[in-house]
Symmetry: D2
Subunit: 373 residues, 4 copies
């Protein structure tokens, strides 16, 4: 082919760089011809002293997201090929790609009354979190699972699933997936299923919950650990109660919170006690009124959505006042601090299981400077 | 010393036995003197073709157990030294030792109104199961845990615990422990605590349940797996519902039961999804009316208690009609078949985790002969 | 049946014991009749403050063992039924049973020239250790494995195996098994194979070693972890070198020994890095000349055999001067101290994996009092 | 800021795409303004039916690589800042970045006589493989490790290391790292150490090998599993022998090879039996003369280097005749077939541990069509 080589080496300056001579330039042209790149011109970018994510802290407002999703509900059909009326957060540092963070996909999905999103399956791990509304059942391998305010609904890779709005009102929710990670790792498979969900019934509780939703009890039919959770819905009433109990216990003088005024639970796989999905960690955090968290930075990316309340969020050099439905991203190794006003409830997801399973996780806590609070 | 050697070898007959000559007898005396025993005279006992437990199938009747416990309540104080008013099942094959099976301890415990069982801790793993009654709180590391009908209350080794009857009625329940196993393994440690429980309050829910009793939710303060469950009570309402749901799902046409009409749950450690205690497995089984289970034999010992209903139990060559509170033991590799009349609810515990962790577990299922049912 | 109940309760004295009244005696008779035993009369024996093993420290002399085994070689055939010419250590505290410790079997086995020990398999985990001699091949699932001085040869449960002496001299070695443990746990299965080994060839290296005996290299045909090691021989040359290197590294100033002058290796399963057998730990210890170890007590039982050298061994209150081939037992929680004269090489096996997997392990180290050394 | 939004959405055609109306275009402009991207325009790229790696099959020739490295040896110093004279393979599909595959770095490194590469540490996991030559010691945490032909030398993340050429001849070898993966995951940390290695001695065996290089033997000083191997050198003599034994066993009629004529070993961590490094799998494959492998495709990327022999390699639609030192990349889900001439020895590394630990691994084997061979 006559196309020029895609490799282009620029002789650098600075420590460790060789003298820029004609011979060096000739050597670099030789490298380019053979599709080679030296370490010494790239090391500053590739091997920084601490993570320098290209992703930027950013906050998307629910007051912007929801109207755009509603408008898409008017203009964009949901059907085979497009598959989902989902609109993804595109981190401003990631070249316009629909990636909230290098590894994470976050989107608002919208379904009109009586609408179906067609059945498919994919290796990407997914979940839904419902910041408001109800009326949609997600049907997973034929099991209809109600989606209601505050619910967390994991959807492990390679399970058939479609969504079905049984109500007369539209519904929006957020999706989280590991699409960018699997796109990078070249591990994605995808298959089409039926155009409409196979079971349009709308039971209050899914079969999954009826089998698995009893604390500490495991059906004798399912005794092997599974990589992903078999429980398809984590209901708000349980999450809310668990968080309220932690704060109540703290008030009674017992250790039950991450730090003063900061309750938190992790959604877990009852067959292992570990994360619900192999690549995604999901948690819910509640800050009592007037709480400020310690500064925390960790390796890996997170996305938060505000569920209730208001507060101030600081990520690295960025800071926002946030409220219901707002979503923000915390890039790797950027410090996060949260401050509540009259209370703040937050859903969080992250790629931490990837880092932990590969022994790349690291966390640094900076205590709050109370004087500045 | 002039005391005779404790070793005594009897020359045997049969395949593989040497000819009984004076020289052989002299050799055997030489063995005895040096505390040696040949394999060839012992192999039939030590290495049978399949497990030949010395334990025998046996059934203890609640109608016998409870009056004796009540009488002990009149005659035997509970206090430091004796520690507990517990009366243990002594398997008829095990030399009068208080062992329900070679590895398992099972006892009825009884506490009078306002009585305390003093605080201690031990390496033995324990649990309580409440076949009837209420009014006692078991206080574990200072956390009072209500004990009520149908509840299962694990008590992992080396935690401080005492019991306290806050009510004006006596209460009986059963204790299960790995006392015989740890006695055999020479692993037991024991320490005294205060003579009375440190917290005599009687909350409806323990702090443990408030932290851990939410399905699939884990407090962020406790993220490491622990060998034993941190959840100190598994309430009857959850167990009952889980079992009812399995039978309901079966009736709706879905796979949810171990076999037709046979629902079952295992109590699990939410930090691992595995058994609640390192040495003890605990389960609850429900047979719909008129159900007969497949014959099942497995390596390891089990003890059952009937919670509700009536039925017929066959263990090896033994068979009993059982009802509320009756307890029976299934020795290793003896076949068990259960038949319900108008329904049968059973609590079960076993030493299976020991066998599984050491890769000695084995199970054999014999399908029901419907013709004979 | 008219046979008397096997249960017999003796009213006790001391703290926590009820007053000895006629009513109490009547209650106890009621217990006996129903096969019940109270905790309060048994707790002192069953739940001591620290392990009180019935096993006693004891030392068996090679100078006694070997002649008795040789004499058995003259008088006792090896064949089907008796299976092995193995003579077991019977701990003086264990009622004359052929148990070196509650959980452990240790025996000397002896095979005449050209003799075969017939093929069988059993669930008991086993190993051989060769304190001297050579000439026998143990044939495991058809793979002949040479047995030579210093070699350790694991033999996981449920593999077919026989032994075959290809030489013109007899050979003795020691066997270690978990027979007492599996006898207690009622988990033993046994099957006969052919009367003679299927492959009488005598290769220098077994197929197992050719596949698995390369440090850190795993055949791509066997990528799943197995509960027991697939490597059937751990050769003396490697063990000796590993120990020599530890002492050499220590001499060069690097941390490589358990304590000064004390080198040690554990035999491990290359598919997991853990113990070679699910129930047995095996190690080799080397003390440089004039070394005294710290006192060590741990939960669980051990048996040692002196391979080379001389020294003094203290176990609890017992003490012996030991030399080549001597075997001694360390009961649970008895303190062990070793002192070498011109050097001391020791093979050790124990039931520690049982304790560790069930979270019952505990260790206590008492530093050497140098003044007394 | 006034800079335009980096998001740009192009209305698409085809199944599932909405009608291209002015209203839709306005909606898309609204998305762009809020940094949002719809799934339906991106799904074909992001969620293909099977992995569609942007990486391309490519082969780099040793006859090109080595002269360029030698020339770099003349022109480019090794020192602080540039750190290493390493020249990386740049996959033609990956935008000129120095990435052999999306997750994998592969480079030739070159050190002149008496030269030092300065000490540093980084979270990236690394290894060296020596296709020819000797004379360099890599010094890991102060432990000098000889590098010689055929040796594999893992270098787990966050260990201090430098290289030191003690000889009078230059030396080249290849480096493999997870640089692209950690760059993507934003997990990289890096620290400078001394400019010269701290120990310039040149022992035949490293301290690591003296502690860990004994098959199946573990020092009692190191009993916990570690995420990466503590063994710093896997010597050619062992690898060569293991492969030769597999082919010899096959010739003797035993199952020992992956497929006929195809021997292979995986380098493993002796503390776990698993991969040497958390993110990288490393193997060595040997094809007997005239062997053709089954077609194999798997999720994840691999890089191979020919160690000895010649043959033909087919990766997807590409095919090359390869010889000593040639390196080629197999992108995810591209089928690989190998054919040897007079024999072919290949070193391989891959990102499979990442896929396996996250449950994204998948393999498909296509038997060789002997007719076409």
């Amino acid at each position: 082919m006559s196309t020029p080589s895609p490799v282009s080496i620029t002789a650098g300056d600075g420590p460790g760089q060789p003298e820029r001579t004609p011979e060096l330039e000739e050597l670099y042209r030789g490298f380019e011809k053979e599709l080679l790149v030296p370490l010494w011109t790239e090391i500053g970018d590739l091997m920084p002293h601490a993570p320098q994510s290209k992703a930027l802290p950013h906050c998307w407002r629910w007051s912007d997201l929801l109207p755009l999703a509603e408008r898409a509900g008017e203009l964009v059909p949901v059907g085979r090929g497009g598959e989902r009326r989902a609109i993804a957060l595109a981190n401003p540092g990631l070249d316009g790609r629909p990636f909230a963070a290098p590894t994470l996909w976050a989107a608002i999905q919208y379904l009109n009354p009586r609408e179906d999103a067609p059945v498919h399956r994919h290796t990407q791990n997914a979940f839904r979190f419902v910041v408001e509304g109800e009326g949609v059942w997600t049907v997973v391998n034929g099991d209809p699972v109600a989606m209601r305010r505050g619910d967390f609904l994991p959807q492990a890779g390679w399970n058939w699933h479609g969504h079905h709005n049984v109500s007369s009102t539209p519904m929006a929710w957020i999706d989280g997936l590991d699409i960018p990670f699997q796109y990078f790792a070249d591990s994605t498979f995808f298959e089409f299923g039926p155009d409409e969900v196979e079971d349009t019934s709308a039971p209050d509780r899914s079969r999954s919950e009826r089998l698995w939703g009893h604390p500490g009890l495991r059906p004798l039919t399912h005794l092997q650990p599974t990589p992903s959770t078999p429980l398809l819905a984590y209901r708000w009433e349980h999450t809310d109660r668990a968080l309220a109990e932690q704060l109540a216990l703290e008030a009674e003088g017992y250790a039950a919170t991450v730090e003063p005024g900061h309750a938190a639970v992790r959604y877990t796989n009852p067959t292992t006690g570990g994360d619900v999905l192999p690549t995604l960690r999901t948690e819910f955090h509640r800050l009592a009124p007037g709480t400020e968290t310690a500064g925390r930075r960790e390796v890996g990316s997170s996305v938060f959505q505000v569920f209730e309340g208001t507060g101030e969020v600081t990520v690295g050099d960025a800071s926002w006042r946030v409220e219901h439905g707002d979503m923000f991203v915390v890039p790797s190794w950027q410090q996060l601090t949260l401050r509540s006003e009259a209370g703040l409830d937050l859903f969080r997801f992250s790629d931490t299981p990837v880092l932990e399973r590969l022994h790349q996780d690291r966390v640094e806590i900076t205590p709050t400077s109370k004087e500045n609070a």
